[in-house]
């Protein structure tokens, strides 16, 4: 083996070593949460890297509580509603912003960009009043409404980017045939926009599923809470004796679906995330 080949081999080994470090760093906390959740409470306080046996008692305890299942149901309802509303309002707005040139378009786009960068605390007191006036306090519908503040601007922005890339001829043909704008959207653009809508829908779903501040502030009782709040509020006998086993079981339960989604749709997620930032 000559020197050149040796250098090449060393580089290769170095590359794989670095990749291994990155992999461990990215995956280890989740792995450790899974391990902890599968331990019986008697073994919980011996830090170990491997699992000797599997116990499901923590899962039984968490899933046995009606309130946690209820929180999962609430989270699913809220997130799906948010995705539906954001896509419905987003696709129509994206058509207007992406395909039609009119006065004030740039202003609207900049406003949307501004809203997407909003600190949520800045609207907390005003939004609290709106939600109470609409009688939506302690109600998942109030969360659906408030979540549009961060899902809608993002959805509009990304869908507008995608909408602009569609070829001109399609729309011209539709107009030649006398199609109204609504028909143009539903019959011509919608079929082509499905991939983009799946991507933005997925990102909106994850954002809504993970939201904490509004969910904590706008709900009061256990039966109206979403998953992040339910997990944050799991408590034990005192502040210093948190039930770590059940907390980890709950965490793994709500994270596994997300991790599976990410594994399946990683290409889409990446393209959606970067479309919002790089191209925009």
């Amino acid at each position: 083996m000559n020197q050149y080949q040796l250098m090449k081999l060393l580089k290769r080994v170095g590359l794989y070593a670095l990749i291994a470090v990155v992999l461990v760093y990215a995956v280890f906390p989740f792995y450790y949460a899974v391990i902890t959740s599968l331990k019986p409470s008697s073994e919980l306080f011996q830090p170990e890297l491997w699992l000797s046996s599997i116990h499901l008692s923590n899962y039984a305890q968490v899933l046995g509580q009606g309130s946690f299942l209820r929180a999962i149901l609430n989270s699913i309802i809220v997130s799906l509603s948010v995705v539906f509303i954001a896509l419905l309002l987003g696709i129509t707005a994206a058509y207007a912003l992406g395909r039609v040139r009119f006065r004030g378009r740039t202003t609207i786009l900049l406003t949307i960009l501004g809203v997407s960068m909003f600190p949520q605390v800045a609207v907390l007191s005003g939004l609290f009043e709106v939600i109470r006036t609409l009688n939506l306090y302690n109600n998942p519908a109030g969360l659906v409404l408030s979540y549009t503040i961060f899902t809608l601007p993002f959805t509009v922005w990304v869908l507008t980017t995608f909408m602009r890339q569609l070829p001109q001829e399609l729309e011209e043909a539709a107009i030649m045939d006398g199609a109204t704008p609504w028909v143009t959207i539903t019959r011509v653009f919608l079929p082509l926009m499905w991939p983009a809508m799946a991507t933005t829908g997925l990102l909106a779903f994850i954002a809504a599923w993970n939201e904490f501040l509004f969910a904590l502030t706008f709900t009061l009782t256990d039966d109206q809470r979403t998953v992040p709040v339910a997990i944050a509020l799991i408590s034990g006998g005192s502040q210093h004796e948190l039930p770590w086993g059940p907390i980890m079981a709950a965490s793994v339960t709500v994270t596994v679906p997300l991790v599976i989604l990410v594994m399946i749709f990683q290409r889409r997620i990446v393209s959606g995330l970067t479309a919002g930032a790089v191209k925009g």
Binding site: R101, M248, L258, V262, V278
Partner: protein, 325 residues
């Protein structure tokens, strides 16, 4: 015409249609339809963002409480600054508020800097050719997908002072003699928060930078390789200048996120003043102390401080880039 419209100006979309050739009737119909389509989105945003923001500004000049926001009395600048009985009162004189402002900036600058460095390293790695690249890329996304609350809880457990694996490993390696109280210790708790945030958001930066790297022209690198220039030099002379625009975008996204940080700190260290940020402070006043007037004053300050930080950053970024877009 169609060719030039699709190739020359893809961003314009329907522009070519609207201007010229077609009859003005079609054009007017399209513009009217555009506004009708925009209306639901604009109304929703006005309801959840515009109006609440104005109400927050208004509340900051009143003595509103959480139980009765409607019957608030106007009290001018008293929530911000007031002189009574020879002493200054108000938000601007509260040392805890200024501590929160300092904490917010310290947290944001340190964690975003670390994320950009780590994110760039990870992106360069993922840009290299190796077996199982897709799998690694998916694995790197895991921290991003995990809810912030869950990641904070996971790390709180790993950083637990008595039973945490981190202390256990550090002691096994002989790096520390006694367990560290990561989340309780005044000097360490901010670092605990930063560790969790960096872990959670580095993937986002890495993906943005990776997307930027993949758009770079290949011929520069081929030329550099032919000339036998060292990879380190290539990185600093070619890659870094070319991905700088992407990095600036990544930084602004992350900076805006970091300046409004709430979840991770709320779960890890609760209302401890060592890690209290502007968002934690404002929410504590608003919800826990039910003082909507004072809390709104803090929210208003937060809004303008963040806006100012963004404007300064954009100004500096633009100057550094030497472009005027």
């Amino acid at each position: 015409m169609t060719q030039s419209a699709t190739q020359g100006a893809p961003r314009e979309g329907g522009a070519a249609l609207a201007s010229g050739r077609r009859s003005t009737k079609v054009r007017r119909q399209r513009v009217r339809a555009a506004w009708i389509f925009l209306a639901p989105m604009l109304v929703t945003l006005a309801l959840v963002a515009g109006w609440p923001l104005l109400r927050t500004f208004y509340f900051s000049f009143t003595d509103a409480s959480l139980s009765d926001t409607g019957g608030a009395a106007f009290i001018g600048f008293e929530n911000y600054l007031v002189y009574a009985n020879g002493v200054w009162y108000g938000l601007l004189t509260d040392p805890v508020w200024w501590q929160s402002v300092w904490n917010t900036f310290y947290f944001s600058i340190v964690s975003v800097s670390l994320e950009v460095v780590f994110g760039t390293v990870v992106a360069l790695l993922l840009n290299a050719e190796f077996k199982g690249r897709m799998l690694v890329r998916a694995a790197v996304l895991i921290p991003w997908a995990i809810p912030t609350i869950v990641s904070a809880k996971m790390w709180a457990w790993m950083l637990n002072d008595q039973f945490g694996i981190i202390n256990h490993l550090l002691m096994a390696m002989g790096l520390i003699d006694a367990p560290l109280a990561w989340t309780a210790n005044a000097d360490l708790s901010m670092w605990a928060v930063i560790i969790v945030d960096v872990w959670k958001t580095t993937p986002f930066v890495a993906l943005l930078v990776l997307a930027g790297l993949q758009m770079l022209p290949k011929d520069c690198y081929e030329a550099a390789e032919v000339d036998g220039i060292s990879p380190v030099k290539v990185f600093f002379r070619v890659t870094l200048p070319l991905v700088t625009p992407t990095l600036l975008v990544a930084v602004i996204f992350r900076l805006l996120d970091a300046l409004r940080v709430f979840d991770v700190i709320y779960v890890l260290t609760s209302n401890s003043t060592n890690t209290m940020t502007m968002s934690i402070y404002a929410r504590q006043q608003l919800v826990q102390f039910q003082d909507v007037g004072y809390g709104s004053a803090a929210s208003t300050m937060l809004f303008f401080i963040i806006a100012l930080a963004v404007v300064i950053y954009l100004y500096l970024g633009r100057r550094q880039l030497g472009v005027d877009q």
